[in-house]
Symmetry: C2
Subunit: 399 residues, 2 copies
């Protein structure tokens, strides 16, 4: 086994764990009295009081004045998450833009900024430098509002292996992104976390979008490639080498054409945006997905044959791949994100039909199919959210 030689539990570990426990219960419940916290956590009132005092000191929660609720005894003082100064920064690198957003512990977007620019051909260092500049600017603006950024999440369209990023769509090979960017972002308690766009998009939807309430679900991030973020019991599923969720290279047609990955009949070849545009006769727009997508939607509305045919093929491919994914992963919900969110009305019926049939008789629940609620923002939001999740998981790190 490759299990890490797990840490011993010391007396202060106990304290840290209970601190996190109390904070977590405040986070869901929002205004909660100490008495109720004691009840729900199983800790004594004494302990809860001391933990809440600590959390107030860390400025993660605030206590309002006593509120009478019509109940009998002494009214309780409700504890809620503080809307500052602790905050998380989310960054995103994509083919056509850089984005940043700042979230406070309540999940509110306090600041958000997008810079259009072409990162496809550009040198990785150059792109990361631009991102660093953007980040510093956003952090400074946040500071003016009294926000203190305690960590940064970075989303990008690539696979991260041992700290190095491979992002074919950006032309990146083995770029130590976290190391390069953290120069511009020194002194943050929770440091810089770099992750795949699909993964962070999945978390964004889980925490702030269409995935709320779902325990386990699959988020589909469609761009030129197609990635999936897999969330299980509120945690990302990463696989043995960190490259789980590569649904774009699932085989949907064993008799199909050869893919750039070396395989045959991959999903990407029928349901990737470029593939759909090509099949719809919009070859000129390939590579510039956003305008191409707009044109595709127009033609679909007009009833254009080629467009309808292309989207149908894409729907069938997705259906096949997703039936496989449902049988293997058994998710609660499937969220269509990225550019595929816009195509959801045309894709959903085929997927729903296939999922209802495939293995339908054998499994307990049938997953719901939903379109992303955050659209293009899900990855940045997820990136910023990971910082807040880290705070929630170990608030004592701020001490």
């Amino acid at each position: 086994m490759t299990v890490p030689p797990s840490r011993p539990t010391r007396i202060d570990t106990m304290r840290e764990r209970n601190l996190a426990l109390v904070l977590r219960e405040v986070a869901r419940g929002q205004p909660v009295t100490r008495a109720r916290l004691a009840e729900v956590t199983g800790l004594t009132k004494t302990t809860v009081a001391s933990q809440v005092a600590l959390l107030e000191e860390l400025r993660l929660v605030t206590t309002a004045g006593p509120v009478r609720e019509g109940g009998r005894g002494r009214p309780g003082a409700p504890v809620s998450l503080a809307a500052g100064p602790v905050a998380g920064l989310g960054l995103e690198i994509n083919g056509h833009y850089l984005a940043a957003c700042v979230l406070d512990p309540t999940g509110e977007v306090r600041l958000s900024q997008t810079v259009a620019c072409d990162n496809r051909g550009r040198d990785a260092r150059e792109t990361l430098e631009a991102l660093g500049t953007l980040a510093q600017w956003v952090i400074a603006r946040a500071a003016e509002t009294g926000l203190d950024v305690v960590g940064t999440g970075v989303a990008l369209p690539g696979v991260i292996t041992e700290g190095n990023v491979n992002a074919p769509n950006l032309g990146w090979e083995s770029v130590p992104a976290a190391a390069l960017i953290s120069g511009a972002l020194h002194g943050q308690v929770f440091g810089v976390i770099v992750d795949n766009e699909a993964n962070l998009g999945a978390l964004g939807e889980l925490w702030y979008g269409a995935g709320q309430g779902a325990g386990s679900y699959l988020y589909l991030s469609g761009e030129t490639g197609i990635g999936a973020g897999i969330v299980v019991d509120g945690e990302l599923f990463r696989g043995a080498h960190g490259s789980a969720g590569e649904i774009g290279h699932v085989v949907v047609d064993p008799r199909g054409t050869t893919c750039r990955c070396g395989g045959t009949g991959c999903l990407e070849l029928v349901a990737g945006i470029d593939a759909v545009l090509l099949a719809a006769g919009l070859a000129d727009d390939v590579g510039a997905s956003e305008p191409g997508l707009a044109e595709l939607l127009r033609r679909l509305d007009d009833g254009d044959r080629a467009a309808r045919g292309a989207i149908e093929a894409a729907g069938q491919g997705l259906a096949t791949a997703l039936v496989g994914a449902v049988n293997l992963l058994d998710p609660d919900t499937i969220v269509l994100g990225g550019l595929h969110a816009h195509l959801a009305p045309w894709l959903t019926p085929a997927i729903e039909a296939a999922v209802a049939h495939g293995g339908g008789k054998l499994r307990g629940g049938r997953p719901a199919i939903r379109a992303s609620a955050l659209a293009a923002e899900s990855a940045v939001r997820g990136a910023a959210g990971t910082v807040l999740a880290a705070v929630l998981a170990d608030p004592s790190a701020l001490a």
Copy 2:
């Protein structure tokens, strides 16, 4: 979120966790001195000594006399797992037999018994009664050897939803197996755990067979149906409704025939044992897999055309499904188990080729393909192992 309102950490929780930590370190390391345990756990020598004393009292470990190793100072007294009296019972229900085995904490098989009988048509209660009788007999024999069974794991070919078992191959519908069997197995500290055969088979291979050393892997359990047990970081992956790993109903041919599940072109239809026998012209043997399998192997060796063709189709289907699984789950290793273990020599090449190509350029590691090391025993072993895993995870429950 459906997160359980997690337990508070009290002072005795700390003790329990550290007790489990020490035991876990003894389990891997086998003869370890207290000094080394202190070093590796991060606890002080004092604490380790007191925890080891407790574990000795629970009869989970034993200390041997001091052993000189040629080193300098005072020689340490090696602590090892005890080969008794604590033991786990594993049970298995399958189409053609009932099986039981008893494992001690070292993982040694201390007792094992198989009873051939046809459980396909039989009433569920009747089968469970027979299993109960077998279990009681085995427990009594174990007691004669000084073994005390502290819990039972039951493997069966079905999906468990909220305690109820659906097992089409046994003709079971909504059978509360755990409740029915635990009458015959009262008074065990860790109670009765019922799980899917593929899941427990996966754990069996992980702990005692071909999966040792793999962090994340996929175990294929091939019988009439095909199931997969997915292990991630040493833990089973169950999905949202407990029916993850239904790889038998992944679509491998969108243009294929209709499956009993309602889907089209499922893996089971080309790679399930019955399907292979049928395609090989061994229709008479369908339903009696074991003798049919023997005949199939004979014909394969003889170079029979129909047999070779059938196995090739099965290999292609498996390859397609597994490429999908690898892309989605990113496992370390793939283990071919159940009846497919016997076919491994004929199936492996196609699978390896497909996995090497499909997504090969994009991912970090390529999974290894292995045949099961325990063959038919993996599920019973895994079932017994879950009990020991429960002991390892919380030894204080024995106090």
